[in-house]
Structure formats: structure tokens, C-alpha cells
Amino acid sequence: MQQLIDGIVHGLQLLLSGDPVLWEIILLSAKVSGIALLISGILGIPSGAFLGLVRFRGRRIIQAIVYTGMGLPPVVVGLAVYLLLSRAGILGPLNLPWIPQLFTVPAMILAQVIIATPLVAGYTMTAVADINPDLKVQVRALGATPLQVTLAVLREARLGIIVAMVGGLGSIISEVGAVMMVGGNVDGSTRVLTTAIMLETRRGNLDLAIGLGMVLLLLSFLINFGVTQLQGKGN
């Protein structure tokens, strides 16, 4: 118990004193997950809106694939990206400049994009599909163009879309399997909050591990608090 209390106190001291190692890890986590979320939003919101709004042959199969993607285990994603990018993999030997290399930030971002995109797309799809179908007919009847109809529906579903983005962020900021596998937890280069917590715990640096854990918990709390606030406004 004493070890835990000491760890919390020391962790807080590190955090508040602006410890450079701790803050470097925090900032890298924010960068990796922030960029991954942005890309997931760019890919996931339009595709989710399309799946929620447009009826076409094969839609149900794609929806099932998206729902499956929402439950992808991060470690499996990490393994897939590893196999894709490794020297013995599919893309690695091509050595093209736009293909990320293993154990780099772009590789971690790629893995997180694969994890978050189905979540963003799936939640967006549900949010858009939940909009009263009469509303779409009504805005068309008022003379809205197809783009204006889509924008009106997205506007109505905005709370659900924000929840989709926050859910996507929550899933990648706290995952460890994929970033460990493709990032490698390289000090000063690919070490993020979750991989650092694992490492420092193994090393016995519990105070630093607890400090990092508190940051992760705080981030997770802020994300969830934000969602509940938004949901409260929506009701």
C-alpha cells in the first residue's frame, strides 16, 4: 500500500515538475493518436455516412465487415501491420517512400488508423441511420440538393459523430498491443504512454509507471466526461 502511495506522490511530482521524459512520452502519445484519429475521421465519417444513408447491393456485407472491424483486437492489428511492413512482408520489400517503416511513428499511426477507422465509421453509420427518415424526405421536399440533404442529416447526427470520434480516440490512446508490435517502444522515438507503463513496471520504476498511468486515466476520464456532457446536451 505504501509503495502505491509513494508511487502516486512521486508520479504527481514528476507530472507537475514538467519532467522532460514523462512529457515527451505524453506529447508523442498525443501526436500519434491525434494524427491517427484525424485520418480515421477523414476516412470513417464519410464512409459511415454513406453506409447509413445509401442503400445498395452488398451494403449489409460491408456493414458486417465494419462491425467486425469495430471489435478488432489491437494485437492482431499490430501483427497484421507488422507482417505487412516487415522486410519479409508484403509491402516492406518494396521500399517505397510512402510505405512506413516498422518501429517508426508512421507505422504506429497506421496501426491506430486501422483500429479507429471501423469504430468511427460504425458509430457514424448508426448515428446517421438513426435520424428520422421523414426528415430526409422533408428536406428534399423543401428543395434541398443531395449534398444539402447529406449535410442536414450529418448536422442532425453531429452528437453521434462526436461520440464516434471520442470513442475512436479512447480506443487508440489506451491500446498497447499494436503500438508495441509495430512501434517497438524505442526510447525517445516510439515510446508512448501505454508501452512506457509496461516497461517502467517491468523495470520496477513504479513511480514513473504510476505517473504515466495517472495521465492515461486522466485522459480517459476527460474523454468520457466530454462524451457524457455532450450526451447530456443532446437529451
Binding site: 428520422n132 428543395g143 434541398a144
Partner: protein, 240 residues
Amino acid sequence: MASIYRLQHVKKTYEDRTVLDIEHLEIEEGEILALVGPSGAGKSTLLRLLNFLEYADSGEVYYKDQLAAPQLAMNLRRQVTTVFQRPALLQGSTEDNVVYGLRIRGKQDSKAEVREVIARMGLEKLRRARARTLSGGEAQRVALARAMVVHPAALLLDEPTANLDPYNIGLIEEVVREINERRKTTIVLVTHNVFQARRLAHRTGLMLSGQIIEIGRTQEFFERPRDPRTRAFAQGEMVY
């Protein structure tokens, strides 16, 4: 009087069921035409065709002597609009909803008129109220106000007063009459309420199984119907 709509040999089928089969129908500019008939008679489908939301499987729909081809839909749809039985309002305030039709047309300069219409519909105190807090009658008045501000050449009303209280019914009927008289807006009113048809319409038509059974001046339609099914419907009997 010139006709705003002319329909010829119009057929519409959903799966294997023919929901609309109209040999000939002309709707005159500036008239109030009521369409009565039991549920499933094709009245709402006809309104969707008149709002260019759907197209006939065969036959022609002319709008102001122009064949309403799908490629003209966007342009034509902005000349008419529908108020549906269940008002579908956007999130936001009463005013946000009323202004929507103008905003999508890029007309931002009609604020005075928006206020005037809101006041006419008795919604002044609810101008900033959230749409989701409105009662059914208030929401329907917002829907009618939203339709009014875009100055449609034809206003299509699909059971606009179903399930409303007498105050809201009275106000909506009064405004509909006013729009028709002052702006010469053509009104096509779908209603189950034969008394409402008698109160408002210049002409009334009976629809059954997708067909127009009889159509004529409202007084004649109700007092000297030619078809026995019209007589039965006017007397409140079930007709199929």
C-alpha cells in the same frame, strides 16, 4: 384557368402492387383541390409525385406544361413543397426551422418576412424555442411556416391537421385559405376529413385503389355525387 399540373396515364407500382393508376388529372393554378379517400388509396404517393420526390413508372406528369423529367427534379422541387402529416423538424429553434428553406436557396435577406410568418402562425413566443420542446400542433405550425416562406407555386398538404386540437386545426385552415387567396398558391390537400375538404376546397376528388373515382366542384361532389362510392364515402361509410 391554366393548369399547374397535368397527369396522363400515370402508373406507379411498388413491387407487384399498383399504388397509382391515374388516366387523367389536371390541377388548376390557384385552386384548392382536396383529395379524399381511405388509407392506401394512393393519395400520399400522388403528393410525392407532385413534389417530384418520386417518379411514375409510366405516363407523364406535366408541371406548367413542362414534362417533369427526373433531370429537372431539383429545379422543379424548389417551386413546390409539402407539409407532411408528421412534422419533421430539424434540431435547433423554431426560427432555424422556418428559415431552412430560404437558407438552402441562398436567400438570407428575408428575415422580416420570416418574423412575419412566425407571428402569423402564432409562434412569436416560441421563436427561440427548441424544436424538440414543441407540441404536435406547434410543430405542425412551424412546418407550415417553413413551407410558406419559400413561396411555393404549389403547396401540398398531406393530412396536415390529423390528430390536432380544434385551435390548431382552425388556425392552419385559416392560414391555408389566406395563402391561397392572397398569393394565389395552388393547394393540394390530402385529407380523411370530409368536413375539412368541404370547408376549404374548390374541388374535391375521391381516390380508391390508386385511381381517381370522381372529381368535381366541392359542393357538387358532396351534394350530387355521380358515383355511388363517392356518395358512400361522403356519408362516412367504408368504401374500397
